[in-house]
């Protein structure tokens, strides 16, 4: 089963990386940006009896290692139901 974890800095935490990317985009003429934040995508493939079971295991991984609860929030989504190659390019 494939699970995707999105790890983001909490809203109250200053995202200096995002601010630098936003400035660079403004330099390219994208100066209409109100905000830009950079996060991480972690894709996990694991055997599990059900999607709920997979999410529970991955949630435990997030709590123990994948995210730092002091700085980061995370969301977990199943990716099996997404069409292969369905990403927009």
């Amino acid at each position: 089963m494939r699970v995707r974890v999105l790890v983001r800095l909490k809203s109250g935490i200053l995202d200096v990386q995002g601010a630098a990317v936003k400035r660079a985009l403004a330099g390219l003429g994208f100066d209409e940006l109100a905000d830009l934040r950079v996060g991480k995508v972690i894709e996990v493939e694991l055997p599990a009896a059900s999607p709920a079971e997979a999410c529970r295991r991955v949630g435990e991984m997030c709590r123990q290692l994948l995210a730092n609860p002091i700085l980061e929030d995370y969301t977990i989504e199943m990716t099996d139901d997404l069409a292969p190659g369905g990403a927009v390019r």
Partner: protein, 249 residues
């Protein structure tokens, strides 16, 4: 836990310097402990769990496991850091510098977290540190308000804690060092990385785990431009008492 034992009339403290793949300050710490302080010291590999013959464990700077995921995240879950929890519970001393501080926070042995410098630059420079708490085994030879000079070398040294954690930290005098001007004033200009309240180093409630971003081992000989880093080790050694146990706070 066996304690440091008097060696002849000289008290010795047994140090262990932890080496992770990617650690870079291990040799510097080993050198300072053995050649400058003349104390027994050995390297401890990241997979080792046996710390029974040590009195003080050093977590040096570097990029443990490449700092993948987050600085110190993977090292914070390594076998040696797992063993460190018992070591700390039994009163052993731990000093984490730079990446070592990041590892201690990631492991939950110290509160808060270290994140990317606000200036976005990797900062490698000399800093002044004002001593906030001189009532720890690492600072008992100093006075509150003493200004030390030590280098920093990091890209992710901005200390962050939520307001409640910060309140608790301040209430128990957990802040040990703050970045300051040469005269000891804590100013925004003296803050190299945007750390909350200019925090450069903190200690756990029991006082036996110190984490700091600066490098005491790089300020341990006059030939290196200063010896203020030695004061931390000398304070620690000064905490040894005749029966080989440590003075508590």
């Amino acid at each position: 836990m066996p304690r440091a034992e008097p060696f002849g009339k000289m008290l010795v403290m047994r140090f262990g310097v932890v080496v992770f793949p990617g650690t870079w300050s291990d040799c510097d710490f080993h050198y300072v402990i053995s050649e400058v302080l003349h104390q027994p010291v050995k390297y401890v590999w990241h997979r080792d769990r046996d710390l029974h013959d040590l009195d003080c464990v050093i977590l040096p700077g570097g990029f443990s496991y490449g700092d993948y995921l987050r600085a110190g995240a993977i090292a914070g879950r390594s076998p040696v850091v797992d063993a460190l929890r018992d070591f700390v519970a039994q009163g052993g001393s731990v000093l984490g510098s730079c990446n070592g501080f990041q590892i201690l926070c990631e492991a939950g042995l110290l509160p808060g977290a270290l994140t990317r410098n606000e200036c976005l630059q990797y900062r490698c420079q000399s800093t002044h540190l004002v001593v906030d708490n001189a009532d720890t085994p690492f600072t008992r030879g100093l006075r509150p308000g003493t200004v030390l000079t030590m280098p920093i070398s990091h890209g992710e040294g901005k200390y962050y804690a939520d307001p409640e954690t910060l309140r608790e930290l301040k209430a128990r005098s957990g802040i040990v060092f703050r970045y300051a001007a040469a005269d000891g004033r804590v100013t925004k200009a003296a803050n190299p990385n945007g750390s909350l309240e200019n925090i450069a180093g903190i200690v756990n409630p029991e006082g036996n785990v110190l984490g700091l971003m600066p490098h005491p081992e790089r300020a341990a000989e006059s030939a290196m431009g200063g010896t203020d880093g030695l004061l931390l080790f000398q304070s620690l050694l000064g905490s040894l008492v005749e029966d080989g146990s440590f003075l508590k706070r």
